[in-house]
Each structure stands twice: as structure tokens, then as C-alpha cells.
């Protein structure tokens, strides 16, 4: 069963066509990787699905659990069960980790907040009263972002480059966390530019210049990305080439 369907969506930002007639289907319960080089349009796709300000498609529709959410607000999409973990999570002066995680929870029980922190391998006693500001390292902030997503118990979590800005050793931890999301029944849309991370998915889509240019088995998509895209990260696919790689 599909949880998300994007049908021929185009998005224009400040006069630039960042998504071009893009279609995508994500199956319920899957980890679905969106792989691509920088500026391929991956993050824009994530923001479009989430409904962030300015990311309204000029054409095409977005369906979540068969409901057309194209005109639905960001908050309402979140209440339907979609959420997003930002690549560079926002920092909040004065807001405690506890209050931040609780913000998205229906049942704001302390034990559930603590569970969410343990889930990302952070000791609750050390972190609950910390402030979600610059005193947290990038890695800690990423984990707290994932904890807040986990605590919300969404149906679909869009994880925008959860592997960026953290050291190579911590990537395995992040990958483990993503797999645990799946085991909790959460569908993951995993945005990344690392083929080794994309390959943990059940299915992968390769993006270039606002288009999906290849889809299917993550290993094959990853291999294609490594061999063809990394040497040519800014390649603009013509319609002819796009057809060929598909």
C-alpha cells in the first residue's frame, strides 16, 4: 500500500525550476531513499511534501494515504502524520530539550520523553533540562531532532540528510536509528547524498536537476550514482538521457 504519492509536481522558487514534473510513490512501512548530489532538489522535495512556506507546487498533486494534501497546511499535514527532521535543525534560545520534544507529543508524559532520548542514545538526566541552542553540538542537536520525531510517532518521517555534519563513526548509529524507526512501523523518506546510507533503504530514487532519473533497488541506484553522478554532480539531464537511465 502506498503512503505517499506525488503526481507530476513542478516547483518554482525565485524564478528557478527546482522540481520538474516529478512523480514519486512511497510504500507504507518502507525506508525510501532519495539520493542525489547537492542542488539536485532533494531538500526542496522534502519541504514540498511537508508543506513548508513557499514550497507550493505550481502544478501536480500530493497524496498522503490517498488524501489530496496539496492545499493542506504544514501544521495539518503534521497532524495527519507527516513530519520532517531538518538537515540543519533550528536552535531555540531558552527552550529545554524536554519542552522541545514534548511539543509534538499528544501525551506529554515524562517517561515517554525520556524514552525518546534513550532511543537516540542520550541520557535523559543529562539532557532534559539542556537548552536547544548553540550549547549543543551538531551531533547532539541531530539526535534530539530525531528524538522529537520519534516521540511524535508519525506515520511518515522525512529525514533530510540525517548523516550530514556528523563524524563518520556516528553514521552507523544514525543508520541503526533509521532502521529502528522502520521497526516501529514508521515509514521513512531518507534524503541523503551518500550512496552507502541510501543503500539501507527498501527502495531508492535518484534525483538530478529536480527530476527523478532512476528508481528501484537501492544498491543498483547507489552504484549508478557512484559511477555516473559523482563524477558529474551538476549534470543536467535532457529528456532523452533521462529516458535512457530509467
Amino acid at each position: 500500500m502506498e503512503i505517499l504519492k506525488i503526481d507530476k509536481v513542478s516547483l518554482n522558487l525565485n524564478g528557478k525550476q527546482v522540481l520538474k514534473n516529478l512523480s514519486l510513490t512511497v510504500r507504507k512501512g518502507d525506508i525510501h531513499s532519495i539520493l542525489g548530489a547537492n542542488a539536485a532538489g532533494k531538500t526542496s522535495l522534502g519541504y514540498l511534501i511537508m508543506g513548508c512556506g513557499g514550497y507550493k507546487p505550481e502544478q501536480g498533486r500530493i497524496y498522503f494515504l490517498e488524501k489530496d494534501i496539496t492545499e493542506v497546511s504544514l501544521s495539518e499535514r503534521a497532524r495527519l502524520g507527516i513530519t520532517l527532521a531538518w538537515q540543519e535543525p533550528a536552535r531555540f534560545e531558552g527552550l529545554t530539550v524536554k519542552d522541545y520534544i514534548a511539543a509534538g507529543m499528544k501525551e506529554k508524559e515524562d517517561s515517554l520523553i525520556e524514552d525518546a532520548l534513550r532511543y537516540v542514545l542520550l541520557e535523559p538526566k543529562e539532557y532534559l533540562q539542556r537548552i536547544v541552542d548553540k550549547t549543543l553540538s551538531g551531533g547532539e542537536r541531530k539526535r534530539i531532532e530525531i528524538a522529537s520525531v520519534f516521540a511524535m510517532k508519525p506515520k511518515l518521517a522525512i529525514l533530510d540528510e540525517p548523516d550530514s555534519g556528523i563524524d563518520i563513526l556516528a553514521i552507523d548509529n544514525i543508520v541503526d536509528l533509521i532502521k529502528r524507526f522502520k521497526s516501529e512501523g514508521i515509514t521513512i523518506l531518507l534524503i541523503t547524498h551518500r550512496e552507502e546510507v541510501a543503500e539501507i533503504a527498501d527502495r531508492a530514487s535518484l534525483m538530478c536537476s529536480g527530476m527523478i532519473v532512476k528508481e528501484g533497488n537501492p544498491q543498483e541506484v547507489g552504484k549508478y550514482f557512484k559511477e555516473k553522478c559523482i563524477p558529474c554532480p551538476t549534470k543536467i539531464y535532457s529528456d532523452e538521457e533521462k529516458g535512457e537511465v530509467k
Binding site: 511537508m50 513548508c52 512556506g53 504544514l74 501544521s75 503534521a78 497532524r79 507527516i82 513530519t83 520532517l84 531538518w86 535543525p89 533550528a90 531555540f92 534560545e93 531558552g94 527552550l95 519542552d99 511539543a103 509534538g104 522529537s148 511524535m152
Partner: protein, 311 residues
């Protein structure tokens, strides 16, 4: 007696704990309009209020070498809808002494109330003085709050002030604190205010870092919405060797509100340094959208960001 109970009720609504007024180890002073209605002194502290026609003159002194263990609780207020309260404080913390004051100022029914405070504070060497002031106002905005202070800090000492006005309408607020900081001494001034309606906020905080290796931080966190106005003038002057200072002002503006910040840094010694940062604007879009992506409506997301900043 009735005024005393009403003051304590207002004090509790302002976030205070009235039980402290029954604790014999905690000094306190309760002033309603120009009447002293509660007072308790502990050893080492001189606290002498004198009633005047419009308020109270207070002489406060901490004797040499005495560090007051528990915060001294002060409660000032005007309960009727109209009235004037002028508090004049002359404080001296002698060498090696220290005190923390926790003042709650309550004006829950104010329609035409003026609260003025004039403080002259002298802090000796190796001493500390910490002053937290929390205001609780009603919803009408019919109040003028005008606190002024001149503070001189000796060597190896610490001065910390925290002012917050987050409950009720601000009304008209005009704060003016000036300080002079000696060798190896530290100044920290923090102001947090949430203004709305027709509130008018003016803050002028100054620190003169005249002592070698003195330190100064002036920090303001202001949120204004609807038709409120705010103006922050923070000035740090560093004239001594190795003096260091920082001015940090953030103002969040919503609706038709207007905010202005003027950080002034003045360095007259080549080995001194003062930095500043000021940000005025609406709540960061990414912060709002992050919280909206957790299911909060935009207005609640803004409230959460603002309340965090003002904490």
C-alpha cells in the same frame, strides 16, 4: 492586615512563595503604597525603611565580611487602581560581604499607578550584589514603572541584575541603570520584557568598565506585539587594561509593534575589547516551521519560541 494578605496573594500570582515571609532565617520587607506592612531582619543585615508621603526610603547595608545566606525577599506594590509609590534605596555592601535580593513588584489592578524607584548602590571590594526584580501587572496597562539606579562596584566583586516583566501589560516602562565596575569585577545586567497592546518600553543600561580586567555583559530579550513599542539603549565603555564587555540584544516584533536597539560600545584603552550583537525581527521562520512540523499551529509555535527566549 487585609492589605498584607492581598499583597501576599498578588505576590504569589507574581510567582513568589508567600511561605518565605514566615521563615525566620529569611529577611523580608513588604511595602504597600507608602506603608511598610511586613518586615523581618536577620543578623548582619541592616534594613531600615522610612515611610514618606509618597513611598518609602530604604537604607540597606550588609556589614563587612557578612554573606547573607538566603535571598532577601522584597515585595513592593500598589493594590488600588490609582496611586503612587516612590521607593528610594540607598544600599551599601561592605568589603567581603554579599547579598541576593529577590524583589516582586505587584500592581494587579493598576489603572493610574506610578511606581518609581531610585537606587544608589555601593558595592565594596570582594563583595557581591545580586538583584532579581520580577513584575506582575494587571491587564489594563494603566501603570508607569520608572526604575533608576546608580551602582558603583569595587574590586574583585560581582554585580548581577535580572529584571523581568512577563505577566500582564507593561504600561509605560522607563528603566535607566548606570554602573561603574572596578578591577577584576564583573557586571551582568539582564532584562526580559513582553509588551503588547499600547505598551511603551524604554531601557537604558550602561556599564563603565574602569577597572583593570573588569568584565561586563548587558543582555536584553524583548518581545513586542500588537501596537507596543520598545527602545533599548545599551552602552558599555571600556577604559581599562584587559577590560572585556559584550552587549547582546534580541527583540522579537509581531504585528504592528515597533522595536529599536542602539548598542553603544566605546573603547578607550588599546588593550580593552567590547563586542555587540543585536537582532530585531519576527520569529525565525525555520523555528516556527520546525514546531509546526510537530503539529503546532503557527500562533502556538510563535508563543513557544517567544516564551523560550524570555525564560
Amino acid at each position: 492586615m487585609q492589605d498584607y494578605e492581598l499583597m501576599l496573594n498578588a505576590y504569589a500570582r507574581a510567582g513568589g512563595t508567600p511561605e518565605v515571609f514566615k521563615n525566620s532565617k529569611i529577611a523580608h520587607l513588604v511595602v504597600h503604597k507608602n506603608k511598610v506592612i511586613g518586615k523581618h531582619i536577620i543578623e548582619g543585615l541592616i534594613l531600615e525603611p522610612e515611610e514618606t508621603s509618597s513611598g518609602v526610603n530604604i537604607k540597606l547595608k550588609v556589614k563587612k565580611g557578612i554573606k547573607i545566606e538566603n535571598p532577601v525577599h522584597l515585595c513592593f506594590g500598589v493594590l488600588p487602581e490609582e496611586g503612587m509609590q516612590e521607593i528610594n534605596i540607598k544600599a551599601k555592601v561592605e568589603d567581603g560581604a554579599g547579598i541576593k535580593l529577590l524583589a516582586h513588584c505587584v500592581f494587579p489592578n493598576a489603572i493610574k499607578v506610578v511606581h518609581k524607584m531610585e537606587a544608589d548602590i555601593e558595592i565594596g571590594n570582594n563583595a557581591f550584589y545580586e538583584y532579581d526584580e520580577i513584575h506582575f501587572h494587571g491587564d489594563t496597562g494603566g501603570i508607569e514603572v520608572i526604575p533608576k539606579a546608580e551602582i558603583r562596584v569595587g574590586n574583585n566583586s560581582r554585580l548581577i541584575t535580572n529584571f523581568s516583566l512577563l505577566k500582564g501589560r507593561v504600561g509605560v516602562f522607563d528603566l535607566d541603570y548606570e554602573s561603574e565596575i572596578g578591577e577584576n569585577s564583573v557586571l551582568e545586567m539582564m532584562t526580559r520584557i513582553y509588551g503588547y497592546g499600547e505598551d511603551r518600553i524604554k531601557i537604558k543600561e550602561g556599564g563603565r568598565l574602569i577597572g583593570r580586567s573588569s568584565r561586563g555583559l548587558l543582555k536584553s530579550r524583548i518581545a513586542v506585539k500588537e501596537n507596543a513599542r520598545s527602545e533599548i539603549i545599551n552602552e558599555l565603555v571600556a577604559s581599562a587594561f584587559d577590560a572585556r564587555g559584550h552587549v547582546d540584544c534580541i527583540e522579537i516584533v509581531q504585528g504592528n509593534a515597533r522595536a529599536r536597539a542602539v548598542p553603544i560600545v566605546n573603547v578607550t584603552n588599546e588593550f580593552a575589547k567590547v563586542t555587540h550583537e543585536a537582532a530585531i525581527g519576527r520569529v525565525d521562520k525555520k523555528q516556527i516551521e520546525t514546531l509546526m512540523a510537530r503539529g503546532l499551529e503557527e500562533e502556538k509555535a510563535i508563543d513557544l519560541v517567544v516564551s523560550g527566549m524570555l525564560k
